[in-house]
Amino acid sequence: MGEVTVHALRGVDLKIREGEFVAIMGASGSGKSTMLNIIGCLDRPTEGIYLLDGVNVAGMSKNERAAIRNLKIGFVFQSYNLLSRTSALENVELPLMYNPNVGSRERREKAMAALEAVGLADRMDHMPNQLSGGQQQRVAIARSLVNDPVVILADEATGNLDTRTSYEIMSLFQELNTKGKTIVFVTHESDIARCMTRSVVFRDGHIIREEEVKSRLIAAEMLQALPVEEE
């Protein structure tokens, strides 16, 4: 069986500045996932360089990249990826477990603070199966925040949620962005992308369009515009 080399990304030059909220868009197979993996230090580019926070990550070993992921990157996944039968608080504590500089009391305090920041202060001891999809994603966001990363990477973070909950989550992201967090958000929903400050569109491994978002949507306002659900 011969191996076929696939160039998932070719000649991509992308700069993300601090405090930006960037949407990465594109059809499946366009290379956006590979881009995200590289940004998230899960994968290394075969050629070229990737500077994260001024450091070239491309040349780092597996363990060095693990440490970078731990300290500088927060992941939010489409399917939440929470540990089952583990409380929200313990789920949020998880990244700090891999950070040898954080003691157990500090870990607990940081995790509690992160959960408060996403509005789940009263659900700390709940198990994932006792939480709604939106709440689970909030736990995941709290987990990505807990190590105070330089960038949060969201991979279709609203993909599994209904419109209302999507806007709730987006409004949380916008709030975080206002506080200065850099966020990279992979999505294929254009209205979600319009909540961000810049959008980058991929096709066949190239960036085909890169533009500032004009008439940016504010998720909190859209939430109010939605018809009120009957209780």
Binding site: L42, N63, A67, N70, F77, N81, S84, M97, Y98, N147
Partner: protein, 398 residues
């Protein structure tokens, strides 16, 4: 972290441990039983007498026909006298004659065996007298009709716990005055009741019951266990001379020592212990494979979790350690529970068999070490596999 992962799946963790629990418990119990039976046999042999040696008549040829050893009449009281006079490694020596028959008291009767010896007979067999007194050499010289009875004989003829000292019973129609009761010895390792005996002066048994001049065996004590071999050599030399055996003739007697008997018996129980231990060891191994199996399933089932842990900063070595510690915890916890159960099971067996069962500390340590080794050994491969997963693939794993 590893503890939390195990807690999340309590039932499975317990079932996995069960293999180890049973394995360890059986290793400990089996070795304890083996050790217990060995000790029980050693105790039995020790209770037969200290540093005991005995001479039995050997095989004889009569005109080319091999004769059974019991038909030999070559041992006599003269041999006893010669041994007493010449063998300085022998501290006590007594002839032994025996006869089976019915003991009768009033309308009660009981089949038993009467042993004839001299004053030193009880000392050689390290047998105490609980009431009354021992037979004396002057009684032996005078063929006195006196006897000591074992507890069983006393119980059967006079009733449970009654002291029959001073009473007269009949054995094969000869009246014997009871001068003492023997200390209780219980059953020996062949299940024979050692208290079902009467002891009388050897002359009385020889002349009044058996009407013979030879004796059936000679019982001796060596000064110490170390002198046992020396005593054996001295006795052989003396007996060859008194029996006038020529240089090229075989011995017409056999000398056995308690040492030899002990060695033979313990080697049998040692084989038994090894066998039991091996079987238990196999169950421990199977338990270990159970752990490996579960760890494997666990790695596959938790692929996404592994991916997540890696994406939030878990290094390969962290993942490896987590799974390794999980499997070590399973086996060590299982081992500890197994040790407790092993002790309990040994106690139960002791209660039922009344063997002096002793759990060997070495077996406990062995079981524990084996457990830890099993945890590392059988946990390593699945843990290694988990740590080598690619985080991107692991996250997408369905």
């Amino acid at each position: 972290m590893a503890i939390n992962a195990l807690k999340r799946n309590k039932m499975r963790s317990f079932l996995t441990m069960l293999g180890i629990i049973i394995g360890v418990a059986s290793v400990i119990t089996m070795l304890a039983i083996g050790q217990g039976s060995k000790k029980s046999i050693q105790d039995q042999i020790a209770s037969m007498g200290s540093n005991m040696l005995f001479v039995m008549p050997g095989n004889m040829r009569m005109g080319g026909v091999q004769q059974g050893s019991s038909s030999s009449q070559r041992l006599t009281v003269k041999d006893v006298a010669a041994i007493r006079a010449e063998c300085d490694a022998v501290v006590a020596v007594s002839p032994e004659v025996r006869s089976s028959g019915q003991a009768v008291y009033g309308n009660a009767n009981w089949p038993t065996t009467i042993y004839g010896g001299n004053e030193q007979y009880l000392e050689i067999r390290s047998w105490g007298v609980v009431s009354g007194r021992n037979i004396t050499d002057s009684e032996a010289d005078g063929s006195a009709k006196v006897c000591l009875v074992g507890r069983t004989v006393a119980d059967e003829l006079f009733g449970e716990g009654i002291d029959p000292t001073g009473e007269t019973i009949r054995f094969k129609n000869i009246p014997f005055r009871i001068i003492g009761v023997l200390e209780e010895k219980g059953q020996n390792s062949f299940g024979q009741d050692q208290d079902d005996v009467m002891i009388a002066p050897y002359t009385t048994v020889q002349k009044r019951i058996l009407a013979q001049t030879h004796i059936q065996s000679i019982q001796m004590s060596a000064g110490s266990a170390e002198e046992s071999d020396l005593a054996e050599a001295q006795v052989e030399e003396v007996l060859r001379r008194t029996h006038r055996l020529r240089e090229n003739e075989d011995n017409d007697f056999e000398i056995r020592s308690q040492e030899e008997l002990a060695t033979t018996m313990t080697s049998v129980t040692e084989i038994l212990t090894i066998l039991l231990g091996a079987i238990a060891g196999i169950s421990l191994l199977v338990g270990g494979i159970g752990i490996m199996n579960i760890m494997y399933v666990s790695v596959t089932e938790r692929t996404r979790e592994i991916g997540l842990r890696m994406s939030i900063g878990g290094r390969s070595v962290d993942i490896l350690l987590q799974f390794l510690i999980e499997s070590i915890l399973l086996s060590v916890f299982g081992g500890l529970i197994g040790i407790v159960i092993g002790f309990a099971a040994s106690a139960v067996v002791e209660a039922f068999t009344s063997w002096p069962i002793s759990v060997m500390w070495s077996s406990v340590i062995l079981a524990f070490v084996v457990c830890t080794v099993i945890g590392v050994f059988f946990g390593w491969y699945p843990a290694r596999r988990a740590s080598e997963l690619d985080p991107i693939d692991a996250l997408r794993f369905e």
